[in-house]
Symmetry: C2
Subunit: 344 residues, 2 copies
């Protein structure tokens, strides 16, 4: 428990507290020698600035809030998604001397807007990172905007005004995955759509269409099924698709959970993967490496996105860097064992 205060450091270094303050905050206008003296005094006393005092005087909380969909509210195990967001946000906070506040939020609750607003007014973070799919919910975005706190949204941005949005190129990379499957000789490539609430997931369907187009394949309604992002819905869709008379040789699902459902059904039906059926997913969650065969999927740089979002926010409050526009970071295809050449 460090009990030294700024006065103690000032006295030991033989300077004023203001100079100590300058050194702590890396401000200019301190001679190098003076700076060194202060640094020594700080080390000798094991001095740590008191954050509350600093925050009170500076009108900053040095807190960033990360708001995401509450995983405990549903069966869907999005834990990996959240951990990776946290990881990136923590990295940015750590480097820049900020603290991270986490807030899972149940968007289906009627009172969610008030709760989120209350949280922000209570803790007064200097910035908010809002993760998908919450970033697509107008009532939540509006509640957050109403607090006047700088906001970065991790989702395909509508560019509406004063906040930055950071997203992946879901559509392009999904097109690429479709082309990859086509390049393996598949000409009946099915797609399993995901929860319409999740905009990024919707874009993957558009990418699938683009990919068909780019590969010179024609679209067929029979090759599209509609899931809800869960493993169970992936199974239902797979059963429908694989019982068609002219069944697909490849299935591309809008997320990994549904792709895992496809694998499970193929297993039950005795359809070998990848010899008779190729399966591809999206997200690269831990499950993608745990299923057998390991799933070919699209990896999103979630942690890097969250880090970027967080540091943009911090740069904004510290240096007044503008916070608007839309940034795109690229996903990557991870080829594993669930995809292979089309059967002859």
């Amino acid at each position: 428990m460090p009990k030294a205060k700024i006065d103690d450091v000032a006295r030991l270094a033989g300077v004023s507290i203001k100079t100590v303050s300058r050194v702590i905050n890396d401000e200019p206008n301190v001679r190098e020698g003076t700076r060194a003296k202060v640094r020594n005094a700080i080390a000798e006393l094991n001095y740590r600035p008191n954050l509350s005092a600093r925050n009170l005087a500076s009108h900053h909380s040095h807190l960033i809030a990360l708001i995401y969909d509450d995983p405990s509210a549903y069966e869907v195990p999005s834990a990996g998604y959240i951990i990776r967001l946290q990881e990136g946000a923590l990295r940015a906070c750590g480097i820049l001397g900020y603290e991270l506040l986490i807030h899972p939020c149940r968007y289906r609750d009627a009172t969610v807007a008030d709760e989120v607003k209350a949280l922000i007014e209570h803790a007064r973070p200097d910035g908010i990172v809002l993760a998908a799919p919450l970033s697509n919910m107008p009532k939540i975005v509006r509640a957050l905007e109403a607090t006047g706190t700088p906001l970065v949204m991790m989702s395909p941005g509508k560019q509406n005004g004063s906040h930055l949005s950071i997203a992946t190129n879901d559509r392009e990379i999904s097109a690429k995955m479709t082309c990859y499957l086509a390049s393996l000789g598949h000409d009946k490539i099915a797609f399993i759509k995901g929860d319409p609430d999740h905009k990024a997931v919707g874009n993957r369907y558009l990418g699938y269409l683009d990919g068909l187009d780019q590969s010179g394949l024609k679209f067929s309604e029979h090759l599209v099924a509609e899931g809800d992002n869960s493993i169970g819905s992936g199974e239902t869709c797979a059963e429908k698709l694989l019982h068609e008379e002219d069944r697909p040789t490849a299935i591309f699902a809008a997320n990994d959970d549904m792709a895992a459902g496809v694998i499970r059904v193929a297993d039950r039906l005795g359809i070998r993967i990848p010899q008779e059926l190729s399966v591809a997913g999206c997200d690269d969650i831990a499950l993608a490496r745990q299923v057998f065969p390991a799933l070919t999927t699209i990896g999103q740089p979630l942690s890097a996105m969250a880090e970027r979002a967080t540091s943009a926010l911090i740069d904004h409050t510290r240096a007044g860097k503008p916070l608007s526009g839309a940034e795109i970071v690229s996903g990557a295809i991870h080829v594993r064992d669930s995809t292979g050449p089309a059967p002859a």
Copy 2:
């Protein structure tokens, strides 16, 4: 952004700021009528106390730190474990008006003790919740103790002094699982041990031995394999166990990941579960419900444990409640599809 301060509320309510402070903090010695007047003024002005000012004056940070093993450091997907800890800790914090600071920590790094110490001295939380397996690492525990911050450990407690430990009855419940398998007619029950770093996992082996004893089964060295908590090690162990001449009819693994590895191997070897082999795990992670067949396992009330740990810490700082001893919360067996009667 609420800009009203305590003076504004006091003026509007026609009382002194001290009275407002009393109302905010639910202190006694305020007449009900006065209290109501203040409440109205607070609502009218949408007043929120400034946490930094409050913290500075009260010498409390109103922060609880949750420290756990960094999941990004390894392949092991312990995300669900962490999310559930966070969930419980957040619940306690939310109710009691505290904020939660999360800190993943790489215990294999040489500098980990310094890092943890620096974090605590920087943020000055009012209490620390230390999750397993970190709570079994003397160098981390010592570094944390050195800061003088109240500490609760989520692991089998050594009762060493001034901090509380909260743990599950791993040994008893593992014995129960073993007895359950025996009650299904299995008499060759194998066990896969886990990472020795994780003490709770070690206790499960002792529970296995107790269970054999209680069921009147004799122990055999050939029925024990040593894993490291990963899926891969589960596979290796399963291969060894299932190739024995007199192979077991049930395998109990010290965690779910290893049990999932067993299922995968059985699948490859064409051994049907549960008809020819029963498999049981421990932890009830999301994967347990995702594998096929769904895994019989032991569920730990992680979220409840973290909530208890957090509120114990808050009660300690607020009301000076003592913080020592060891509390035990009970796990529960979830019977799913991977266990059944022993083959005739």
